[in-house]
Symmetry: C2
Subunit: 221 residues, 2 copies
């Protein structure tokens, strides 16, 4: 195991409102599995930080007239006037070799608080656009990202022909539209289906599966 100074960094951005939830236990388990694999782990817990999700005019110091969100992001990145919290999160993002988004799947997507983290922190000019391109030319090219989440529905519902639809089709907007768009290589997601319907024993087994999946899916860079 490397010393901390040279260890790769994993940033986990977590978005569940309940510290005692299975989702939070899953995040904690994953964090330890990443440490065991030699990562230095940085956890950003959006609910406990009371993160504000809405990208809005008051994010920016001095918008005159017509507010164009991405143009303002570009300008604030260039001027060094990004909102201080956004800048701090962005710096943690840029320092990470591996990004893990940890959440309960709500409406087949990210909870709003986490979507708003992407809206505000994946700033144009800092992670794509401006001096960066998209996909392989974006700022996070060469780094990796992974989704870690829970569902309400059963695994069968997410199979092709299942009641909901194929899981990969639901994840496309995140994998392709958010993570690959800014350059990440996307690792296989780690998913626990329907923990709300599990016994305590089943939950413990599910956490062990998470630990093994993280070890398997997130080899060190």
């Amino acid at each position: 195991m490397p010393t901390l100074d040279t260890a790769p960094v994993a940033l986990i951005v977590h978005a569940h409102p309940e510290p005692r939830s299975f989702s939070t236990a899953q995040m904690t388990t994953a964090a330890q599995a990443l440490r065991d694999a030699g990562y230095r782990v940085d956890v950003l817990d959006l609910y406990s930080e009371a993160w504000s999700p809405a990208l809005a005019r008051d994010d920016f110091a001095s918008v005159e007239g017509h507010f164009k969100p991405q143009a303002e992001q570009m300008r604030a990145v260039e001027d060094g006037t990004l909102d201080a919290t956004v800048r701090a999160h962005l710096d943690r993002l840029l320092a990470a070799d591996l990004l893990v988004l940890s959440f309960p799947m709500w409406w087949f997507s990210l909870p709003a608080i986490l979507k708003g983290w992407v809206d505000r922190v994946f700033a144009m000019g800092a992670v794509f656009g401006g001096k960066y391109g998209l996909f392989g030319d974006a700022a996070l090219a060469g780094k990796r990202a992974m989704l870690l989440f829970t569902t309400g529905g059963a695994c069968e519902s997410f199979q092709p022909g299942g009641a909901f639809g194929p899981m990969n089709d639901f994840l496309f907007h995140i994998h392709r539209g958010m993570l690959e768009f800014v350059g990440y290589q996307v690792l296989d997601p780690v998913v626990t289906y329907g923990p709300a319907h599990m016994t305590d024993r089943e939950r413990a087994a599910a956490l062990e599966t998470v630990r093994e999946s993280i070890a398997l899916n997130s080899p060190r860079p």
Copy 2:
């Protein structure tokens, strides 16, 4: 044209932070086109209402111990203790024959403020689950919904084989996972690609296209 009392209702939920944006002009154009088609139009402007997107414990009057968001939604629907703003929005949703989600596409999905409207207002027990099922058995079955949005990228980028990926694949999580899930028949989306790169004359033509598309895509129930 029917009298207002018997007119079908269209609820437009709008999510752009700038009243002078093309996105807001597009919404206003669509609202008028729906009125011209005989709808009574109800506009809910999330930024101007300072809507709070994060589904959180303080949405609920008295959560004891472990906070389980969907279980609390069910209980609050049954007890009549839903947050007053959420309840008011839910009542407007239930009263609408047509739901229009109006937004700039951010990260190939809804802006966080609009995602959080779905997270909080599509309450379990009120629009699905509890006495309702899913999809055709959900509360909004028999009603229709439509996306009205703008993109940053060009239309070609959203074609199969394009730089981003097929638009329908990006929209799947919304069309299938949010709208059909609660029972809606989903109408063809109305999309303006890349208005930021248009001249004033092109924008005016694009708004005219929006007007025609709304007239075409949203026949009265």
